[in-house]
C-alpha cells in the first residue's frame, strides 16, 4: 500500500447518504425532536450542521454559538451564521463570559495562568449549554469530533467530545474538508485553519506540530497496522515523528472509553455488560 492522499478519497455522496441515514435513524429511535449542536464557525461543526439539516430538516436543528470575551471572534460568528443560513438552521447566541467568570471565581484552586486547565473549563461549559438546550427541547446533542483529533486525543474529556452521536468521527480531517465542499460549504470556510478555541490564537496544526495532510496519512497507516518505520519511509519523514503520533494515539485511549472500574461482579458496566445501545 502506497500512502498517498488518494487513499483518503471517499465517495462523498455515499458518505453523505450513510451519515444522514445514521442521524435520522438515531433521532427517530430516540423519540427526540431534533438536534442541538455547537456552531463554532469551524469546519467540523459546519459539516455537522449541513448533514443534520439534510438528515432531519433545518427546522429541527438548533446551532448554538457560544462565544466568550477572551476568545471572541466576529469572523467565527459570521461564518457560523453563514452556515446556519445556508442550511436553514435555527440559531441561538449564548455568551458564556459571565458563566465562565463565576466559575473562575468559584474554584478555590483556579489558576488563570494555567491556560490548558482554564481552556478545558470553556469546552466543558459549552457542553453544559448544549445539554441544557437538548434537555429542555427534547433534542439530542450531536458532536463534531473528527477521526484525526479523536485518535490524537486532541479534545477535552467530557467537553467538546461529550455528545449523543458523533456523525463524522470516522472521517479524517482532510476527508471532512472535502465532504464539507461536497455539501456546498464555501471552500474558504472548509479550508479555514482549525482551532479548539480554548485560548486566543490557538491553532490545531501548530499545537499538534504537524499538518493534517501528513497526520491523516500517518493515522491511516496506523489504522491499517503499518509499522512506523514503513510509514516514515513512505512519507519521507522522520520515524520519530511517526512514533510520536503513534504514542499519542495509544496513550489517549482513556479519553475515548468509559471510566475504568475494577472487576468484581458477574457482569460489569463498561466491561463485559455487552448490551445493545438503546436510544429510546
Amino acid at each position: 500500500m502506497k500512502l498517498t492522499m488518494s487513499l483518503l478519497a471517499v465517495d462523498f455522496s455515499e458518505a453523505e447518504k450513510r451519515i444522514c441515514r445514521f442521524i435520522k435513524e438515531y433521532v427517530e429511535n430516540a423519540g427526540a425532536k431534533g438536534i442541538v449542536l455547537g456552531l463554532s464557525g469551524g469546519i467540523d461543526s459546519g459539516t455537522i450542521a449541513a448533514l443534520s439539516s439534510r438528515a432531519i430538516g433545518g427546522d429541527n436543528v438548533i446551532g448554538l454559538m457560544i462565544p466568550e470575551e477572551e476568545n471572541f471572534s466576529q469572523k467565527d460568528i459570521d461564518d457560523a451564521k453563514l452556515v446556519a443560513e445556508k442550511f436553514n438552521l435555527q440559531t441561538q447566541i449564548c455568551d458564556m463570559s459571565s458563566a465562565l467568570g463565576c466559575l473562575y471565581k468559584a474554584i478555590p484552586a483556579f489558576d488563570p495562568k494555567d491556560r490548558l486547565c482554564k481552556g478545558n473549563i470553556k469546552a466543558r461549559t459549552r457542553m453544559i449549554y448544549l445539554y441544557y438546550y437538548a434537555n429542555k427541547l427534547n433534542k439530542i446533542v450531536s458532536g463534531s469530533s473528527d477521526k484525526s483529533e479523536t485518535m490524537m486525543g486532541y479534545f477535552t474529556k467530557w467537553g467538546d467530545a461529550a455528545a449523543d452521536i458523533t456523525p463524522i468521527m470516522d472521517l479524517y480531517k482532510t476527508q471532512v474538508r472535502n465532504l464539507a465542499i461536497h455539501l456546498g460549504i464555501p471552500k474558504e470556510l472548509a479550508l479555514k485553519p482549525s482551532t479548539p478555541a480554548l485560548w486566543p490564537d490557538q491553532l490545531a496544526e501548530t499545537e499538534l506540530g504537524i499538518r493534517y495532510e501528513t497526520l491523516d496519512l500517518i493515522l491511516y497507516g496506523l489504522e491499517r497496522f503499518m509499522a512506523t518505520e514503513e510509514i516514515a519511509n513512505q512519507l519521507s519523514i522522520q520515524k520519530s515523528l511517526v512514533d510520536k503520533v503513534k504514542s499519542r494515539w495509544l496513550s489517549n485511549e482513556h479519553k475515548r472509553r468509559m471510566p475504568l472500574a475494577p472487576k468484581i461482579g458477574f457482569r460489569s458496566v463498561g466491561n463485559d455488560f455487552r448490551l445493545p445501545r438503546h436510544t429510546y
Binding site: R18, R21, F22, E25, R274, L275, P276, R277
Partner: protein
Amino acid sequence: MKAKFKLALAQISSKRENKEANLQKIEKLTLRAKEQGADLAIFPELSLSGYVVRDQLYELAETIPGPTVKKAEALAKKTGMHIIFGMPELSEKTQATIFNTAVLVGPKGLIGKYRKMYLPTHSVFEEKRYFRPGYQAEAFQTELGQIGLCICYDIFFPEVLRLTRLKGAQLIVCISASPAVRRSYFETLTCARALENTAYLAYVNLAGVQDGLQFWGGSRLVSPSGDVLAKAKYDEEDFVICEVDYSDLRTAETFIPTLRDLRPELFDQLKEYSERL
C-alpha cells in the same frame, strides 16, 4: 417437485429484541409473497431477533422446534408457502448454548435448519462470543427442489457452498446481515459461488441501521451462470419477486462443467494443508 417457481427476496429491517414485531412482518410479507404467486419467502439472518443484540441473545434464543417455529409452521401451512428466516437457536440439551440458525418451514411443517458454520469475530463482529458453530452443510428435499442453506460469512468459504451443492442443492439460499462497508465483497462472492457451483443462489440481506451498523440490503437472485437476475434496493427495506427455473441448471452445467471437472484428490490436500497453516 416444481421445476419452476417464484420466490420473494424479503429484505427487511428487523426490530431489535422484538420477536413479536418481526414475526408479524414475516407473516405480512409471506402473505404478500403468496398473493404475488411466490412459493418461497426468504428473510435475512437473525431476522427474528435483530442482529446487534449482544448479551440479549440469551433471552431471545429459542429451541427448534419451539414457540416461534410453531408459529412459522402454522403460517406456512395456512398459506401453502415455504419460508426461510434466521433466528438464534437454543440447544435442546443445554441452557445457554446458542447457534445462529436458518430455519426452513413448508406447508407440511419444519423441513430443516442450518447452523452457521463460520462465525465472524473480527472488526465489528463478535459472533464467536455468543454462538457455537454448526458442523453440517445442509441441503433439504422439498417440493421446490433441493434447497441448501448457508449464512452470511459462510459465503467466504467456497467449501461450504460446494458441499451444499454436492449434497444436491439446486437452489442455495444465503441469508445475511452484512454491513455496508462489505458490500463489494458480497456482490463479488454471490456471483462467484453461483457460477462455480452452477446453482441458483438467493442472497437476502438485512436493511436498516442497528447500533450504528448500517446493513446494505442489495438482496439478489443469481443464476447458475452467475448473472444477477433480480436485485433489491440498497440500504432500504424492499420486496422483490423473482423466478427460479431449474431447466437452466442443465444448460449451465454443460457450458460451465465445474461439477464434472471436480478433482476429489485436491480436497484431501486442502484438508492436509489447512491443518498446517
